[in-house]
Symmetry: C2
């Protein structure tokens, strides 16, 4: 089976790790990673979501934090601060830094991000069973900026700054995905959507992860047109995001912070959306008939991922829903 | 008193630390640092000699190694190797890495190396007494390459590779200081030579440290013409380099590996060289009359630097010799 999945950071990566656990050696997984939270800091290109997926699937992730490297140290970060170099809020570990150094060197040598990502992933993903490849959504520079109030003015801050430094506290006045309209899908992205059997939308942020991937010109159309079955997993459980900061962004878009709200936001392919099926948590089972009535087949299963086993069960439930929908035709 | 000193890495830096100890708060020291062993690695600009001077004078040096940072860790280096990125032989510490990241970011933003060096030194040298400023010999890219035999062919390797990876073992077939002929002295360098009272040549490598500084167009002439008294300190004690790899390079140039040989190689200003006076170690006292007869006033004093006190005594001996020579007119 060929499976393609869109992914943001921690939630997506953990879901994908569960997915790998539930697949067989002959399956093939392609991950289209969000790059809209990429950031240039200290002259280095940092791709938080790609790295979280790469480290999580490759066994290098810090399990407790969910991002960055295991056995990490923070000496370089401390030194940068001692030099008075801003920003000091970004979590730049010494091991992680090497990834950014290699990436930046390759980018500056002229390689596109997709080639660079493949080179980095050779270390982390080669030899995994089933085979996994990680594609950035685009090779072009795309950056999500969040408009907030500061000293009575509206200013745009990079998503990383909004999330890491401001803890997503200031009200969201606008979300601007700089460069996305001029971007093009990276090599292999559209093909991986067109040629897969199942397309999964993991429980990633619907606005600044899945939303930005779908905003790359051609992406949404490719999802709309694929012969694959498209199944999404709600990142909202019981009226709150399981992790991250989806809530203020959804509110800004006028989307209800609920499994039903996000399901309706993605929408059924039968009525112009991107999904064929939708998984919500058991506690949100009340949304199932509502969404089904609106044309989006929905199923309620446990959607928390305290361990790899539960993530695998979630992924299996998504694949089961896809299989049932495909059988139903 | 205004003192300008040329410097390479460890030997020069330790001598300079002694010099500071022996000066008063109203003195001023300018260091012209060798940049010909600078290297671009991993997309980062690394300036080993500038950093050794900066860390040594600023209290950040690893005393035992003599280069790099105290309390250093090597996580990023380990990761770069895990990515299969070459070279793996360069000693890139996590703390040290931050210096290179800041430097590279500033260079790529368009600042000349001299401005970058000043910015980095603000952390390490501001507030020292006497005041010290560190100038790179040039803002231009200059790199010493050593020609060696490899598999029956002559190949040029970067000085760092020759020294760190090859341990200076292969015979030196040639020394090529790439770019030096097209380089220009950095801002302030010629002025610091013209305007000082004493110009010191510490016990740095005569070929790939002092030699490359003097090879920057205009530098040697400035030394020849300065009204300051120029005193050098022999890096060779008892027929061997105190540290580093001067011997094979001197042999390549046909210079005897001795205090007398290097003194004659630098030469007396009175006969076309760069020195007014020369300090040799007590064990090389036999060279004193030989060199003096050749027109180079020479004095024998202890030239080992097991601690800052002995380095200070060496520097004091150099200043005393300069004062005596100046008094003699």
């Amino acid at each position: 089976m060929r499976i393609t999945a869109v992914s943001g950071g921690i939630g997506g990566a953990r879901f994908l790790r569960g997915l790998l656990r539930t697949l067989g050696p002959d399956d093939e997984v392609t991950v289209i990673g969000n790059t809209a939270d990429d950031i240039w800091l200290f002259g280095l290109k940092i791709c938080p979501d790609l790295d979280t997926v790469m480290y999580t699937l490759g066994g290098g992730i810090d399990e407790e934090r969910g991002w960055g490297r295991r056995d990490e140290t923070w000496q370089a970060k401390e030194e940068l601060a001692a030099y008075g170099v801003e920003p000091t809020w970004f979590g730049l570990g010494d091991r992680d830094l090497a990834t950014h150094v290699v990436r930046t060197q390759m980018l500056q040598a002229g390689y596109p991000l997709s080639d660079v990502t493949a080179a980095l992933c050779a270390r982390w993903l080669d030899g995994l069973s089933p085979a996994v490849r990680l594609l950035p959504m685009t090779d072009d520079r795309v950056e999500t900026h969040i408009v907030v109030d500061r000293d009575g003015e509206r200013v745009a801050v990079h998503f990383q700054e909004y999330w890491v430094r401001l803890h997503a506290e200031p009200p969201v006045r606008d979300v601007v995905v700089v460069g996305v309209e001029q971007s093009a899908p990276a090599a292999g992205v559209l093909e991986s959507i067109a040629d897969c059997d199942v397309l999964l939308v993991p429980p990633s942020n619907p606005v600044v992860s899945v939303g930005t991937v779908l905003a790359v010109p051609g992406l949404r159309d490719a999802v709309r047109r694929t012969g694959a079955t498209v199944v999404g997993v709600s990142p909202i459980v019981g009226g709150a995001a399981v992790r991250g900061m989806a809530a203020p962004l959804l509110r800004h878009l006028g989307v209800a912070v609920s499994a039903a709200g996000v399901g309706a936001h993605y929408g059924a392919r039968s009525s112009g959306g991107v999904l064929d099926g939708w998984l919500v948590d058991e506690t949100d089972a009340a949304a199932v008939p509502v969404l089904a009535e609106g044309g989006l087949p929905t199923r309620a299963v446990p959607l928390l991922m305290p361990d790899v086993g539960s993530a695998a069960a979630m992924a299996r439930a998504a694949l089961d829903l896809a299989a049932d929908l495909a059988a139903r035709g």
